[in-house]
Amino acid sequence: MRYVKLPKEKVCEFLERLKSMGTLYGPKKISEKFYDFREIGDVKEVEFEYNRTITPPRKYFFPERETVFTFDTVNVEIHETMPEGKPIILFGVHACDIVGLRIMDSRFIDDLPDPYYQIRRENGIIIGLSCLPDEYCFCSVRRTDFVDAGFDLFLHLLPDGYLVRVGTVTGHKLIENSPEYFEEISSEDKDNFAKFETKRRSMFTVQGNWDDMRYRLELHLDHPMYMRESDKCLGCGNCTLTCPTCRCYEVKDLPTLDGTGGERIRFWDSCQFRSHGLVAGGHNFRPTKKDRFLNRYQCKNAYCETTTTSYCVGCGRCTYFCPADIQFKENLLEVYGTGGGA
């Protein structure tokens, strides 16, 4: 792996360079407390120190709503509406979210490629950014706190700039083609990188490893936590809509008035909605709020072969953006039983 340094005074210029290559998206402050990935007009708006965005980066590859095809009932034809394949540069992605995107890949590309997702993803450049955890973060116990794949460049904060890890050939070319922004790293930079990582690791409120969490949960499906906590739940779906790895979608046909055609759209669904478990004949395999609540806890703790992690990457969004203040991490620990991981 190659390492270079991006000095602080070159960061804006580097962002301008990225912006010239396609549409640049990055973290922005959108309100008093919240951040979100947004298109970057002025590179000075990019927020380098943020905890989490309200919407996950998957939205750039798997949009909230898209038309998958239009149909023509007169000629009985369908016309797929493929993405244009414009370059998408996503800047400032934290490690947990990068694993989140790899998990998305495992479902949308590895098994049976979804062309809509794949085209966008193949035209995407991912620039990672280091972060310090708050009390909602638990990527450490999910083994998603440090990434060795899934990014083109990864920027680690130094006192006077960033130590840049190069992850792909694309990332390598980005540096090769813009040598004016980068320097060789010094031994001081290496020390500072190590110091940052040590400091970062000490800040997590949970330590250890949760690889066995899914077994603990499976053994205690009747744990009283589920009833107590699901009672507080609004069923609003914020936990899944803000999640970087939730990927359930709903499909709907919108015919034209004259009936000669229409479009088929797909849009984000949530397992917290009643209709998610509704099947033909009016049967529902998750009829109650508790059933739906429990499903998310199991699904998020299931195992993803590609990343060898759980589907939950420990970003803390489902708790931070829960209007009912339901504490996912604490609830999992309660079922786990030890209060502190293995």
Partner: protein, 281 residues
């Protein structure tokens, strides 16, 4: 493939079909502000609609309307608030193949049903009219499904244009509109808004109100007032939201009043509030 490669439909086929199978549509009003009709009459594609269907009744569009003809699709706006409303509603139901309740009043009773469960008809009458007489025999304002079978519900105050178009086009297609059973809160996330309930403790009813408006008010920083009514199928969690509001310092009366504006006819409202606040005095 590009859209331009689509071949335009043969208009003769359409014309032929129009003579044979032009759907008949009626738009009716009980007690309400006529806002739903106004939205329906001013949708961008109203001319296209007018060419495709035969409006038997639509007072906002034509004075040649008649309430007494059979129709394929009936849209009914307004709550049942008088005996006359009730008679008309029953006749519309008898004449219609498909009946759609449109707007907050028809779907949930509207603001005029705010005091449901608190004041009876005589008390309400006295507080508004005193000893005066009115020409109609009044009834306690109620959603239309209190009296007749309703096939589909199109909520909103007023309803959204894209939903009106979706309902009409699915009916004309020989299909039906899919019901929404999740809250405004979810749409608010999809719109990319920050959450005003979390961030500024706003009394937002987005979590209990049925989606479809693309979080119109919260997108402008205005807390949802619930005009679209409760999430259907008992999935409007008044208790969970009341608990959140209580923890933010709102009083029981404030919470109940606010939730009742558009949800007074939800059978779960009082029971779920009792779960949080205890039994009503």
């Amino acid at each position: 493939m590009e859209r331009s490669k689509m071949i335009l439909p043969d208009h003769e086929i359409i014309e032929e079909c129009r003579d044979v199978c032009r759907a008949t549509v009626g738009v009716y009003v009980l007690t309400s502000c006529y806002g739903c009709q106004l939205v329906m009459a001013t949708v961008q594609k109203i001319m296209e609609i007018a060419n495709l269907v035969d409006f038997k009744c639509f007072y906002m569009v034509s004075s040649k309307s008649s309430m007494h003809e059979p129709v394929d699709i009936a849209f009914v706006e307004g709550s049942v608030s008088t005996e006359k409303d009730l008679e008309e509603l029953k006749e519309v139901r008898k004449n219609a193949k498909v009946l759609v309740a449109i707007g907050a009043c028809a779907v949930n009773g509207g603001v005029q049903s705010w005091s449901e469960g608190d004041l009876n008809y005589d008390e309400l009458y006295a507080s508004v009219y005193g000893d005066s007489k009115i020409k109609y025999k009044g009834l306690q304002a109620a959603p239309i499904d209190s009296y007749v079978k309703v096939d589909y519900f199109l909520p909103g105050c007023p309803p959204e244009e894209d939903e009106i178009m979706y309902f009409l086009s699915t009916f004309l297609f020989g299909s039906y509109p899919e019901e929404i059973d999740y809250p405004v809160c979810a749409e608010c996330r999809l719109e990319g808004n920050p959450c005003i309930l979390i961030e500024s403790d706003a009394p937002c009813l987005g979590p209990i109100t049925v989606a479809g408006c693309k979080a119109r008010c919260p997108s402008f920083g205005v807390p949802c007032i619930g005009c679209r009514g409760p999430v259907p199928h008992d999935n409007s969690w008044f208790d969970s939201l009341a608990l959140i509001f209580r923890n933010k310092g709102y009083s029981k009366d404030y919470i109940r009043e606010r939730m009742k504006i558009f949800c007074s006819f939800d059978k779960n409202l009082e029971e779920r509030l009792e779960k949080v606040f205890g039994r009503k005095k």
